[in-house]
């Protein structure tokens, strides 16, 4: 690999995922390929030359290259995400560099069992792992624990339902922290040690653990898993800012 430099992608599709999130698919002729879990830096330049950069996780699996999909959460007072989620249209160009990061990465040959813990839009890099798992035909035992505020805030809800039906050895456990519909059978509270004790693989199975979400969420989940006896070296974390925009 060499130094990362900025490249231009063309928006070929956009898709609303929830009220606050949108997926943006880019065609990147110069893309060198990526691994599930990596991210890109996006740079916007204003007419006066002012530039703002933010990191966004890649949601699509490596198998879809040179097309790359990002899922972006709109932060109302953000400098970058309102433009990406509201103004960017198919045919527009976007400047980015990547893929970044070989630390928070899972590839099918790394095996499992796999424990994925997502808070809000922290699902995005973990979804790349699940999509890669499906595309590679992997049957690695995988559990996703996904915390959202409400059912309407669940990103990729229908695709997760579909993956669950079409995959073997995949389990999805959801918790809704603010509002849940009548008859909800999942968890209805924030992630804590007891919840992780019930959901995480037993320590003896030595799962590979990936946690992504807002900083307090990641720190709570990681500390609880260490408390349960999981090796810190098998727990990989990726934080995004309290505003959700990194």
């Amino acid at each position: 690999m060499g130094r990362l430099s900025w490249q231009i992608g063309e928006v070929v599709a956009t898709r609303p995922e929830t009220v606050r999130t949108k997926s943006i698919t880019l065609d990147l002729p110069g893309w060198m390929g990526h691994r599930a879990g990596q991210h890109v830096d996006v740079r916007l330049t204003a007419q006066d030359g002012y530039q703002a950069e933010r990191s966004y996780s890649i949601a699509s699996p490596p198998e879809e290259a040179p097309r790359v999909t990002l899922t972006v959460e709109r932060i109302d007072d953000g400098e970058v995400s309102p433009y990406l989620t509201e103004d960017l249209l198919v045919g527009d160009k976007l400047e980015l560099r990547g893929p970044v990061g070989g630390y928070f990465v899972w590839e099918a040959q790394m095996g499992g069992p796999l424990l994925l813990v997502a808070g809000g839009s922290g699902i995005v890099p973990l979804m790349a792992m699940l999509r890669h798992r499906a595309a590679a035909g992997s049957t690695v035992a995988t559990r996703l624990l996904y915390s959202s505020r409400s059912l309407e805030d669940v990103i990729y809800r229908h695709e997760l339902d579909h993956l669950l039906k079409s995959s073997t050895m995949l389990e999805v456990v959801q918790t809704l922290t603010r509002a849940h519909p009548p008859g909800w059978t999942g968890y209805a509270r924030r992630i804590d040690t007891q919840l992780l004790r019930e959901v995480a693989w037993p320590v003896e199975q030595r799962p590979q653990i990936f946690i992504c979400g807002p900083t307090p969420f990641v720190e709570t989940a990681a500390a609880s898993l260490v408390e349960l006896g999981h090796e810190p070296g098998r727990i990989k974390t990726e934080r995004f800012g309290p505003t959700g925009e990194t």
């Binding site: 690999m1 130094r3 991210h39 990191s55 630390y103």
Partner: protein, 86 residues
């Protein structure tokens, strides 16, 4: 405003400088001697760059500033930076 993230967030900037995957580079803290991969450090992002801190003792390992077409790296608290080729 600074945001506490992790070394992954600063990796794009580091990889614009170094031609390697910097999330897997290892830093040894001159303060407490802990060795960590940069992906597992704490990083505080600000408008002009980032501060990478030791996850054990919170010592500031690397200050990166990017402005006016230059990068500045203050690495006074890094005893060793080990970078894996390829």
């Amino acid at each position: 405003m600074e945001q506490k993230l992790d070394g992954n967030a600063a990796a794009g900037m580091l990889q614009a400088i170094f031609p390697f995957d910097m999330t897997l580079a290892q830093v040894t803290c001159a303060g407490c001697g802990t060795t960590t991969v940069i992906g597992a450090t704490a990083a505080y992002m600000h408008g002009m760059g980032a501060i990478i801190r030791c996850p054990r003792c919170d010592n500031a390992l690397i200050h990166i500033v990017h402005a006016r077409g230059r990068y500045w790296l203050d690495m006074r608290s890094v005893r060793v930076l080990e970078i894996k080729e390829g």
